[in-house]
Each structure stands twice: as structure tokens, then as C-alpha cells.
């Protein structure tokens, strides 16, 4: 007996990268709409929303992650040119950034040291093994840097990736209510902290809130990636 046509069509399409590419874009568009419907609420973060939808779909259809990634990789590839694109906003606001050189340099060094230092201390307090600890240390760096650093110091890239994404999503979701609670009103400071701590996902959130915050977030993302990319392999 032949399988029902809809099942046969699913098996046919499931093996094509196109299906997973379309579903990735579709989940993103849907997650963005949902966030708009909440009036731009931070907790309705579209990265978290669309990833949960896709993760659930993979689990439901028993699809191996590799099969999904064969389609999603076309989106993943854009991380590279998007990193270059960050430079464009930094250049556009070059004058304003140069005026703030002291707070930028100070917050960069303090932020990176606090991120790496507290992560190291808490991993030891929790009794995590060295491989997991080393994988978590670069978690505030942007994805490609964190993976490169992790492998260079003896961590596991996929664990780092996981920590990087959790950091980014956590940061993007809590940054607005957290800074309102602390009454931080300096928009450059808020953006810089979001980009330094929560890399690209925090930067995406910062751009949603204000263009000025976005520019400083992009700057922090680039500088923090550079500092951690050079510093961590040297000290570990």
C-alpha cells in the first residue's frame, strides 16, 4: 500500500535545504510579528521565539539538527558580512565615539574582566570541570570569536556556542527592565553594556530601542570581540 500523498510530499521536501530555509525565515517573521503585537516587549525576543518554534518543530518531526542546518546555513553565513556591516555604523558615528573615548575604554576593560572573572569564579564554586569552564569563559564574545577562542584554549566550541546564545538571549530580554530598575539613563552607556555583554543579540535589541544605543552596542561588540580574541588565548 502506498503512503498517503501528504506524507510522501513531506518526506520529499524534508530532504531539501529549501524547506528548512523557508521555515527559518518564516519562524523569524512570525516571531517579529508576535513581538510587534506585544508593543516591542523585551521578553518577546524574536531570536528566542523563532528558535523555540524551530527547536520544537525539529523535536516534533524527529529531524536531525544537521538536516535542518543544511537549509539554515544560508542564513548562518550572513553572520560574516553582518560583522563587517557593524563597522558602517561605527564609522557613521565616529566623531561622537571619539568624544567618549574615556568611558568607552574604561567600560570595555571593566566589562570584559567582570564577565570573564565572575564566570570563572562561579564555575569553580559550582564544581564544573575545566572543559566546561573554559568553554564558558568567552560567552560574552560574539559567536565566531567565542568558538575560535574556546577551541584555542581547550574548551568545546558547541558548548561555548550554547553559552553564547543563552547569554545573548538573557541579556536582550533583561537589559531594558534591569537598566530601568537601576535608573541608568545614559543611552550610550546602556547600548555599550548591551553590546559588550550580549554581543549580536544584545546589539539587535539595542537597535530596536534607540539608534544611539545600537551604535554603541555595535562598537562594544567589535571592541569586546577583539579584546577577548587576543586576551583569552594569551592568559589561559
Amino acid at each position: 500500500m502506498n503512503p498517503p500523498p501528504i506524507f510522501e510530499l513531506w518526506v520529499f521536501l524534508k530532504a531539501k535545504p529549501l524547506l528548512w530555509l523557508v521555515l527559518t525565515l518564516g519562524a523569524w517573521v512570525l516571531a517579529r510579528r508576535l513581538q510587534e503585537a506585544t508593543g516591542g516587549a523585551a521578553w518577546a525576543n524574536p531570536v528566542a521565539g523563532s528558535s523555540l518554534m524551530l527547536g520544537f518543530l525539529l523535536w516534533l518531526t524527529d529531524t536531525p539538527y544537521e538536516e535542518f542546518f543544511a537549509g539554515a546555513q544560508f542564513v548562518h553565513f550572513l553572520l560574516g558580512p553582518a560583522t563587517i556591516a557593524l563597522g558602517v555604523t561605527v564609522i557613521e558615528h565616529g566623531k561622537a565615539v571619539r568624544r567618549q573615548i574615556v568611558p568607552v575604554a574604561g567600560a570595555l576593560v571593566v566589562g570584559v574582566l567582570v564577565s570573564v572573572g565572575t564566570t570563572w569564579a562561579l564555575c569553580h564554586a559550582a564544581g564544573l570541570n575545566d572543559v566546561i569552564t573554559l568553554s564558558l569563559l568567552p560567552k560574552s564574545a560574539t559567536a565566531p570569536v567565542a568558538m575560535g577562542v574556546s577551541e584555542a584554549v581547550g574548551g568545546i566550541a558547541s558548548i561555548s556556542m550554547c553559552a553564547v546564545l543563552l547569554t545573548g538571549i538573557t541579556g536582550a530580554v533583561i537589559v531594558t527592565p534591569l537598566f530601568n530598575l537601576f535608573r541608568f539613563r545614559n543611552w550610550s552607556a546602556r547600548g555599550f553594556a548591551a553590546g559588550l555583554t550580549a554581543h549580536g543579540i544584545g546589539t539587535a535589541r539595542a537597535y530596536q530601542v534607540s539608534n544611539e544605543a545600537g551604535v554603541y552596542a555595535a562598537l562594544a561588540l567589535a571592541l569586546a570581540a577583539l579584546l577577548q580574541g587576543i586576551l583569552l588565548p594569551l592568559i589561559l
Binding site: 527559518t24 525565515l25 519562524a27 524574536p46 531570536v47 528558535s51 527547536g55 542546518f69 539554515a72 542564513v75 548562518h76 553572520l79 560574516g80 558580512p81 553582518a82 560583522t83 563587517i84 556591516a85 557593524l86 558602517v88 567618549q100 574615556v102 568611558p103 574604561g106 567600560a107 566589562g111 567582570v114 565572575t118 566546561i132 560574552s140 565566531p144 570569536v145 568558538m147 575560535g148 584555542a152 556556542m161 546564545l165 538573557t170 541579556g171 533583561i174 537589559v175 537598566f179 541608568f184 545614559n186 543611552w187 552607556a189 546602556r190 555599550f192 553594556a193 559588550l196 555583554t197 549580536g200 543579540i201 546589539t203 545600537g214 567589535a222 577583539l226 580574541g229 587576543i230 588565548p233
Partner: protein, 117 residues
């Protein structure tokens, strides 16, 4: 649009090449970003096409994390009991880093000079 996209990819390619030749621990795209900043400091320009594509990419920056983020739950499950430690450590250090960074910046910038819109 294609011209602008090619310009961005050219800087990324240059970054990958330099990173490879210098055995740099800093990944290629970040080196490419630095090359773009240096190029601009020397008076070079990316051109309106490149700037347009850059703005389009940045407006959808979050999308580019979705392919890998979709696999996070699978990865967490493979960590077993350590997964809970990873989650609370990530949340705690993220809060501390955000506050420390914003506080340092605000302090050095001389307070809340710029008001939120």
C-alpha cells in the same frame, strides 16, 4: 544591492586572509571589521550601496543567530546535570556584567548627561 554585498564580502575575505596569514586567534570577520575601520580612518569609503546593504543586514541581525540558537536545547540536554549550573551561571554573570559595564560607562561619562528619548 549586489555591488554593496560584494563590498562587504570583500572586506570579510581580506580579514580571513590576514587572520590566516598572521595565525590570528581573532576570527576573520572581526579582522575584516578592523580593516574597514582602518580604511575609513585613511579616508576610504564603502559607498552608498555598501552602506545600504549594511543597514539592511543590521536591521535583521537577530535572524542570523537563529540557525545555531535552534540547536541550543539539544546541546543543553547533552550536558546532563551540568546544564542547570550552566544556565544559572550564564544568567547571573550576564546581570552582573551588564550592570558593571553600564555603571562604569555612566560614571566615566560624568553621569546621566544624555536623557533617554
Amino acid at each position: 544591492m549586489i555591488e554593496g554585498f560584494a563590498a562587504l564580502l570583500l572586506f570579510q575575505l581580506a580579514g580571513e586572509a590576514v587572520a590566516h596569514l598572521a595565525h590570528s586567534p581573532v576570527p576573520g570577520p572581526i579582522v575584516g571589521l578592523m580593516i574597514l575601520l582602518a580604511w575609513s580612518a585613511l579616508g576610504g569609503r564603502l559607498g552608498p550601496a555598501g552602506e545600504g546593504v549594511a543597514r539592511g543586514l543590521l536591521a535583521n541581525l537577530g535572524l542570523m543567530f537563529v540557525p545555531v540558537a535552534s540547536g541550543v536545547l539539544f546541546q543543553l540536554r547533552s550536558l546532563g546535570p551540568a546544564a542547570w549550573h550552566v544556565v544559572w551561571i550564564v544568567v547571573a554573570t550576564t546581570v552582573v556584567t551588564l550592570v558593571a559595564t553600564a555603571a562604569t560607562f555612566t560614571l566615566l561619562a560624568g553621569g546621566d548627561a544624555e536623557k533617554a528619548p
